[in-house]
Subunit: 221 residues, 2 copies
């Protein structure tokens, strides 16, 4: 049974399942690959539960005018329940999911997962708990977006980027950074120029290079 070993390690409830339920989940899994910056889920249909094997995905909300706010990113080994809103009926909001790097996922079809979770309370509890964890991430983003000034948020964002990659170079366009922060490119561009004038960073063709991490930290915190 393909995926059996992986799921045995991945899901804490795997050993509670009947052989039949294990087979339902495995046979309804597909391995899907995405290019860099491709739309994975656009909320038009309830696709299923994504487990990220490699790459990076970004989950965001979108306003009618096309403004985006990143709610969180998925790193390898992480799972996204919010694209399976038909499984968790109480989710009534719209999210979008894009790849930020070439990405490989396992996707368990929503109806198969829903069927197994109806029969197994431990599966349902797992899915709900994963969703509530994301609730906490989203509250953090919300408090940042509502209460923290944009220059602080930009500084925090840049510090997070270099600390997660371990590289002082950030290969993102100003447009991409603006999307993460839910603001306009012009605003980010102006703030980056100020930071460059203070010798905190350099702006190159390929992106940004942080020069003075300590000064950036003093803005962020």
């Amino acid at each position: 049974m393909k995926y059996n070993d992986f799921y045995g390690q991945y899901f804490p409830f795997w050993n509670d399942l009947s052989q039949e339920d294990k087979e339902i989940l495995c046979s309804n899994t597909s391995a899907v690959c995405f290019e860099d910056r491709q739309n994975v889920h656009n909320n038009l249909e309830c696709t299923g539960l994504y487990i990220l094997k490699s790459g990076r995905l970004r989950l965001y909300i979108l306003s009618e005018e096309g403004r985006e706010i990143t709610l969180y990113r998925l790193n390898p080994g992480e799972m996204c329940m919010l694209a399976a809103s038909c499984v968790i009926q109480s989710i009534t909001f719209d999210v979008y999911l894009d790849s930020e790097l070439p990405s490989e996922c396992y996707m368990i079809g929503a109806s198969a997962f829903g069927e197994v979770s109806e029969r197994n309370p431990s599966v349902k509890i797992f899915a709900l708990e994963k969703t509530v964890e994301r609730f906490s991430d989203v509250m953090w983003v919300m408090q940042q977006a509502l209460f923290v000034s944009l220059d602080k948020r930009l500084a925090i964002f840049l510090l997070d980027e270099i600390s997660s990659s371990g590289d002082s170079r950030i290969a993102m366009t100003q447009e991409q950074i603006a999307r993460h922060l839910g603001t306009a490119r012009e605003v980010v561009s102006r703030m980056l120029k100020h930071l460059a004038a203070d010798s905190i960073l350099e702006i190159n063709r390929g992106g940004i290079k942080i020069i003075d991490k300590n000064k950036l930290r003093s803005i962020a915190y």
Copy 2:
């Protein structure tokens, strides 16, 4: 057993519980009363699960500078899990709960509820589902706060108020309205004066009276 009849009607899982678990929940319930505008829960401790019998409670987040954003209100018959974050471990954000009217609640102690929910998957699923429902409410508030202009949000707020009370008078101070919208009193005051100049509402000592609901609606939608 006090509360047994009420819980039998209130909780869908009640009949699944052992007699012992029913007794644990009942004996750890307290009836608590709050005056108008009193703090119910201030996030310093994990109190428990509140069920509102009468009155109205308001759940909000607070910035370091004291700005508030209302996440949702509880009406009679509704329940608040977010003040019991120790029961649902994945909740790691801070919320505050105030009464908006004289209110009467039943409060089930967090540790008793946690203990019973560990033994009974149906209780745990109920608690998690109620939490995820609120996630959707909060996402709506977040999208409003981030994407919708303040004059629209004020108009929507005023329309919601008169439609839920059935009265064209709104007995709230400008300070209170500002808190709901997460903005300053001066901003609300200025917007209300504009609306009064357009004969959409009247500002009195005791609050606001909506005169032209249709015009207000055209601002909101």
